[in-house]
């Protein structure tokens, strides 16, 4: 059995799916982020001045790009895998000799690809508003890749455990979006009172946004190594949890 063919089939199917519905998947982030850049960066940002030596527009660009990557990699996997479960197409995979790790990495790869594609669209739009030169390409690429992987895995777990369409919107709406906004997309945590700085450090998204911001414009509130450790640690934990859920058939088998 050639598992690579099964893996390739799954990725192809996932990519065609979100490309086919590009007005739902690729267009909205382009419009939303253009508005962010225009309103927060251009109109309000001009009155804020600089943060850590960067103009406000330059400061918010990395956070907005990464926020788009997070929400779209998560949304891709959670909606695709849950629909697959809901329509019972998952049976096509369960009947076939496709190992659990191929199912997991197939869906996660789909989420990563969509996250990165949306990230690129947002980055291209940001070029209209900001003049960004990449500070550290390796850190930029690796953190965005790891972040997309982490949130694709999280979306997968959400989809496996979800029992209704409500369950797949609870996490993005009530956990992911608040954590992203409070993860320092629009501000530096050093601007917060001491107590809120400490609270913010419990938010993993803060580390990813700051590492990405460091990679792009060389500004960060946290230790970059710690950001990689936290992101890597979460990826390992969520991968193991996903494989456990698939092995037990939780949420997908009777």
């Amino acid at each position: 059995m050639n598992y690579f063919i099964a893996f390739k089939t799954l990725i192809k199917k996932e990519v065609f799916r979100f490309i086919r519905i590009w007005p739902q998947t690729l267009l909205p982030p382009a419009i939303t982020t253009a508005l962010y850049f225009l309103i927060f960066g251009k109109l309000i940002g001009a009155r804020i001045g600089t943060i850590s030596g960067a103009t406000y527009m330059d400061y918010i660009v990395p956070g907005i790009i990464l926020m788009s990557v997070i929400s779209h990699s998560y949304a891709n996997v959670v909606s695709s895998f849950y629909s697959t479960k809901f329509q019972r197409n998952i049976e096509e995979l369960l009947v076939a000799p496709v190992p659990n790790w191929v199912i997991l990495f197939g869906y996660v790869s789909g989420g990563i690809i969509r996250g990165l594609l949306v990230g690129m669209v947002v980055a291209l739009i940001s070029l209209v508003f900001a003049d960004i030169t990449v500070n550290n390409a390796l850190i930029t690429v690796s953190i965005v890749l790891l972040t997309a992987t982490l949130f694709s895995l999280a979306g997968f777990i959400n989809a496996v455990l979800a029992e209704s369409f409500d369950d797949i919107s609870i996490v993005p709406n009530f956990i992911l979006t608040p954590l992203s906004y409070l993860g320092g997309v629009f501000y530096s945590v050093s601007m917060l009172p001491e107590i809120w700085q400490t609270v913010s450090k419990g938010n993993p998204i803060l580390y990813m946004i700051n590492a990405f911001r460091y990679g792009l414009i060389g500004v960060t509130d946290i230790d970059i190594q710690l950001a990689f450790n936290i992101t890597g640690g979460f990826i390992v934990a969520l991968t193991l949890l996903s494989l456990f859920l698939l092995h037990k058939g939780i949420g997908i088998k009777s």
Binding site: M1, T9, K13, R20, L94, P97, G249, S254
Partner: protein
């Protein structure tokens, strides 16, 4: 060699319902096998376990000698499943549904394209290959599922009520197709509620009820055990009273139709002699019910309710 071997298979759902109570079943390679049972008997659970859609509580399943637990990949490679309900992505085209399934089985692209074309042509769906599947009729959707199940050339094909809800013309065409597939060497396990379908297609049969196999034999010997045939006779002229003929139980359905229970050891000749003696002219006759249906009902009815 057995295409399928099931040993002491049990399934208890989380709500405590015991769907399978330790069944054993063997299906020989090349067989056309009927797995029958009333609704809720455990058929779908058994098929679910065989096709890895349901986790068993205990017991073992092996497909062409490959244990489903220890040699999962090889066991699954031998199996194709046509489920009861449509379960493909209704936003995909017919071709991509079948082609993707070939990919999941690790079929190289070139061969997958050839097999997809072959299966879609066999199912008379080639003209619909680029149609989005939700636009297909019910019968076509069923044929898509058969094409998808056959695209990796499985040695064992499980058809779970494949003809449910399709019109008689399509059903007959599907019977022909199933026979051809079986003649080409594929073992087929069929579940159906159309017992005439099982009777005309299958060589061996198992009947499952309340989570247990209550009958497992070849079709011919099972039907030979049916002692009484029921016939409906259409009469040329109306009859006022029910004729009495020794050895036969006769009921008047209408003025011009009789229901007759015919014991096999007596046969039909004496019946017709008796009817002629009563000046009753029969213009046609038919089986009241399908023979297998009669046997099926006898077996199910003979099992006391709640028997373990």
């Amino acid at each position: 060699m057995n295409a399928l071997s099931i040993r002491k298979l049990r399934k208890t759902y989380n709500n405590g319902f015991e769907a399978l109570k330790g069944i054993n079943l063997d299906v020989e390679a090349g067989d056309f096998f009927a797995l029958l049972g009333p609704n809720g008997a455990g058929k779908s659970t058994a098929i679910g376990i065989i096709s890895s859609l349901v986790n068993e509580t205990s017991g073992s399943v092996s497909i062409f000698g490959h244990d489903l637990k220890t040699d999962r990949s090889r066991a699954k490679s031998c199996l194709g499943l046509v489920p009861q309900e449509v379960n493909f992505n209704q936003f995909e085209t017919v071709r991509s549904i079948v082609l993707n399934q070939a990919g999941y089985y690790g079929t190289p692209r070139k061969l997958a394209l050839q097999r997809t074309e072959q299966c879609l042509k066999q199912m008379d769906l080639w003209d619909k290959r680029d149609t989005v599947s939700r636009r297909l009729s019910g019968g076509m959707k069923r044929r898509v599922m058969i094409a998808r199940a056959m695209v990796h050339a499985p040695k064992l094909l499980i058809l779970d009520e494949p003809t449910a809800g399709v019109d008689i013309e399509i059903r007959r065409a599907m019977w022909k197709m199933m026979q051809e597939v079986n003649e080409q060497g594929t073992t087929i396990i069929l579940t159906t509620h159309y017992l005439e379908e099982a009777e005309s297609l299958c060589r061996n049969i198992a009947i499952i009820d309340q989570g247990q196999i209550i009958e497992n034999s070849d079709m011919a010997s099972l039907l030979a055990r049916l002692h009484i045939d029921h016939f409906v006779l259409d009469l040329a002229e109306p009859v006022v009273t029910t004729p009495v003929i020794a050895g036969y139980q006769i009921e008047r359905i209408t003025d011009k139709a009789l229901n007759v229970a015919v014991p096999k050891e007596i046969g039909l000749n004496l019946l017709f002699s008796g009817l002629s003696a009563n000046n009753i002219k029969v213009i046609s006759m038919k089986n009241k019910s399908n023979r297998l249906e009669q046997m099926f009902m006898d077996l199910i009815d003979s099992k006391p309710a709640g028997e373990q």
